[in-house]
């Protein structure tokens, strides 16, 4: 009876888990393929949590743990903002706010060949995708989408980048649109890129718009939806 409870996914989904919790039991889920995201690990038939947070489930078969922290733990298919630290013969070394440097192969660009290796000065901000995130290895990044197209990936010009917690950046990317972005978007025009590693880049025509947007987003972390809208309206009143 107890066994059955721990095996039913509904029991843990959307509830708080701590490291060591066995969230899924594979022996009772044969003929099913599941995909594990960040914070989960497999030991034979048991899927257990590796960090504290909320267990999320997305149809049809994806499981991951969501939490808010300063340090980013890389996870495959995340889109992140990285800073170029160094360039080597084969890789760019990218700071991704994680425990290890990310490697961006010099050929991981649309139509990348040995002939046309891009040049990035140290400190360039890049919008990237995580391709590999294995234990004991540096995460591998790419500037293309899964089909090899550049999509929106690549260097970000101008603008301002600031750091947030990973939880806030996830909130900004959620749908329906986060109230703070909704409220700002109604009144101001700006460009934004959110990396799941807790970095946000904002660009707009005038510097004061950038400052207002950046501060509104940083302040919104602990506010409810209604409070966020009030805060944004208050900020906008001050600048106009």
């Amino acid at each position: 009876m107890e066994n059955k409870q721990s095996s039913s996914p509904a029991s843990f989904v959307d509830s708080t888990v701590v490291p060591g919790d066995v969230v899924l039991d594979l022996s009772s889920m044969t003929n099913q393929t599941i995909k594990l995201g960040g914070g989960l690990r497999q030991d034979c038939d048991a899927i257990s949590a590796m960090k504290a947070g909320t267990l999320r489930f997305s149809k049809p078969n994806k499981y991951w743990i969501e939490s808010s922290q300063k340090r980013y733990v890389p996870c495959v298919e995340d889109t992140i903002l990285g800073i170029v630290v160094d360039s080597k013969a084969d890789n760019f070394l990218i700071d991704i706010k994680g425990p290890a440097m990310g490697f961006l192969p010099v050929l991981a660009f649309e139509g990348g060949t040995r002939r046309n290796i891009p040049k990035f000065e140290v400190g360039t901000l890049l919008y990237l995708r995580v391709v590999k995130a294995n234990f004991g290895m540096n995460p591998e990044l790419s500037c293309t989408d899964a089909s090899g197209k550049a999509a929106e990936f690549g260097p970000l010009k101008d603008g301002y980048m600031f750091e947030t917690s990973t939880g806030l950046s996830r909130k900004l990317l959620s749908s329906p649109t986060c109230p703070v972005l909704e409220a700002l978007g109604k009144r101001l025009s700006f460009e934004i890129a959110v990396g799941l590693n807790g970095r946000v880049w904002v660009n707009a025509a005038s510097p004061d718009t950038i400052v207002v947007v950046a501060n509104a987003i940083m302040n919104s972390e602990c506010l409810s939806g209604a409070q966020q809208i009030i805060m944004v309206n208050h900020l906008l009143k001050n600048i106009q």
Binding site: L125, M161, V211, N215
Partner: protein, 286 residues
Amino acid sequence: MEGRLANSWRLTVNDKNFIKTALLSEIRIDGRKPFEYLLIIMVIYREDGSSEVQLGQTRVMGMVTAQLVQPYRDRPKEGILSIFTEFSPMADPSFEPGRPGELAVELGRIVDRGLRESRAVDTESLCILAGKFVWAIRIDLHILDNGGNLVDAANIAALAALLTFRRPECSLGGEDGQEVIVHPPEIREPLPLTVHHLPIAISFGFFSNESILVIDPTHNEEAVMGGRMTTTVNANGDICAIQKSGGEGVPQRVIMQCLQLATSKAAGITKQIKDAVRLFSSKIVF
């Protein structure tokens, strides 16, 4: 090598350019004006001689302790004031544990000079028996979080801690009147230090050309700015110390402007420190 690369904090090219261009139109990234000081939040613990100061993201804890020691031979009638800084890697990954870095030494020296050269703390009243026993006051400054402008925050923390500190009362006794009796706080009320005035350190950052000047630079601005200057002034308008570091040269006119700005800010900060201390002392009476 890679470990060190991962630990060091870095600023993007985008941020560097943005901070500079925004400053040209007098906008700072946290929404302040160039001459606006951040709000200071001060917490004084229940214990005497301790304080915690929050200046934006920066947090500094100050702790004052005292010990009876033999005075220096050339100054037999003066107490000893010393300052120690502790930069924990928790505050900023670029701080290395163990040996104090260049910044830690500089910070200690600026706070030390502000207090010592202006004779803010009356060291003569710390003497108990000339040549034999004086109080050695030790100020420990712990950096808890680095959000920029550590010097100002550390200086405020040191002052608040000094003001709340009380030393046990002493008297001379024994057969020859040469023995020191330290009265425990339950028997005789401990005495506060004599602090004549509060030297307030106020830092300025200079950008590419000396016409751009900001007060109380943040962590990001510190990474971009070309030079910095810390002026230590008190509420009466006396200049106690000036420390100019970083490459950029500054003309006399700008220094005068900085001093005027600093004097105007110092009064407000002095009042804030005194209010916090008064609130604390009114609490412990009851």
